[in-house]
């Protein structure tokens, strides 16, 4: 197994995440896609750490931080969605359209 495999895997996940983030119609769908993107980053970090820079664990540590941050974002995001859902029963992105230029 070469590093390239891992990086390619990360890239594919990342791109799938982007695709989801760009196309999902529900906020939660977007959130899920973004989680995929974070995971892609984590795979990269872990793989790089293992293959290129095995002398420390900085990459893995970073991945942990990313995980936590992602969790925090999910919390805030879901809370926000919940609040909006409660207010107006809307979880679709394009329905949120009050502000105009």
């Amino acid at each position: 197994m070469t590093l390239a495999h891992y990086i390619a895997l990360g890239a594919v996940l990342f791109v799938i995440g982007i695709f989801g983030a760009l196309t999902r119609r529900s906020v939660i769908g977007i959130l899920m896609s973004i989680e995929l993107m974070f995971n892609a980053a984590n795979i990269n970090l872990a793989a790089f750490n293992r293959y290129l820079h095995p002398e420390g664990v900085a990459g893995q540590a970073f991945a942990l931080f990313i995980m936590t941050v992602a969790a925090a974002e999910v919390v805030v995001g879901l809370a926000l969605v919940l609040a909006i859902y409660r207010n107006w029963d809307k979880t679709y992105m394009e329905n949120i359209n009050l502000l105009k230029g």
């Binding site: 990360g10 977007i30 990269n44 900085a58």
Partner: protein, 495 residues
Amino acid sequence: MLNLALLKSEIVLGALALGLLAADLLLPEGRKRALYGLALLACGISLFLTGSALLPAPGVFGAGVPLPLPTGGGPAAALGAGVGTLWSVDPFSLFLKMVVLGSTVLALLLTMDDSSIPDSEAGSFSCLLLLSAVGMMLLVSATDLLLIFVSLELVSIASFILVGYERRNPKSNEGSLKYFIFGAFSSAVMAYGISLFYGATGATSLVAAKPQGAMALMGLLFILVGFGFKAAIAPMHFWVPDAYEGAPTPVTAYLSVAPKLAAMGALARLLTALVPAGSMDLTLLLSLLCGLTMTWGNLVALFQRNIKRLLAYSSIAQAGYIMMGIVTGDAMGLQGILIYSFVYVAMNIGAFALAVALAADRSDALDPYDLDSFDGLSSRSLPAALAMTLFLLSLAGIPPLAGFIGKFYLIGSAVGTAHYGLAIVAVLNSVVSVYYYMSVCYRMFFTAPRKGARVPRFGAGIYAAAALALAVTLFFGVFPHRLAVWAQFSAKFLP
């Protein structure tokens, strides 16, 4: 070498922010406003700690004697500055920390008189505000991508919540949600970028990194996206108008200044650390983004009829001006970033302060922040109209106001480093910007007041904020020497 003591102002502020939460529980329902006072106090303490680190800096607060050049740890250490594992407390970051704290103070002052945030939420609101301030202060100190990422996230998450603080205002919700989605997306992109960067360099530290190769470049690009989002650089600015319009106005004022400046500061540090070291040249990309940011912000601002949106777009353009300093990267440009940050806080929040004051009278209107709030202001309150005029002119960069000094540095550095195209774009943009700034003046001076318009009342907080902002705008416009010397001193500490 942890040197956590260097970060005493952040630590104290963070602790006090949490303390506010505790105080929130203790205070009875009717007395919550006192928390604003406590928050101000916290900022004051932090400001004092930050400032005291600067006190020994000659030529800044003291007499204008020549500055010692920073050589190694010598004078920097004497300033209470130093380097931790992931951060560096140096005059550059100290400067920006004071800017951040200053804008926090002003935003708090505005909040005290703004009706959009219920008093019962004062505790959590000011806690979040202070937390984001902590994030920014660490952001400008950070020398490692890890710390940058985490502090940026702290700022972002606090901001998402702050924007949505008018819970029952659909606009606020919507702004917050858009801001959140876009913020999360760019965080993810940035995280991915950092991973690539880590792969290419083996470290996340800016100090040791020698980025090379396509992967590192791509990593940097993705990291830039994160910063661009935070600093609202076009084309990553789309969240700005909605978030700004939806947010409670003090938050808008705050967001239009502090995170932007902090991100710019961090970006400056990042790029000065990385770009000269590596073999890649991001100047073209950066100057394109810079020009685009200025132009886009200004052109779209021409159409706005809502003062918040207008200032939102104008703040995009202002970010573009500041970015010029990053593009050029020379001493003058870096000083320009600092000077402009400093004065930008004053003039932008000053303008917002007046907008808040005027909107307070328009609770009946469909849109209290419509530009027609300004109609005939000069006949209702000449001082207010003049103050607003000065803020706007300063934003437009008309001398002898402080905004000009900053812009002068930035454009100067562009000319000095032969970025003539960028300089021309910048000056043309400031001409365009005059048009919409003046359209506000037009309403204040040339039109008759709306029927039933009253002499605007200023709460103590708004009054203090506006007065402070005005004083800074005027004083540093006419006597910019101290500021220039301070910025010069501070910018020298960047690598």
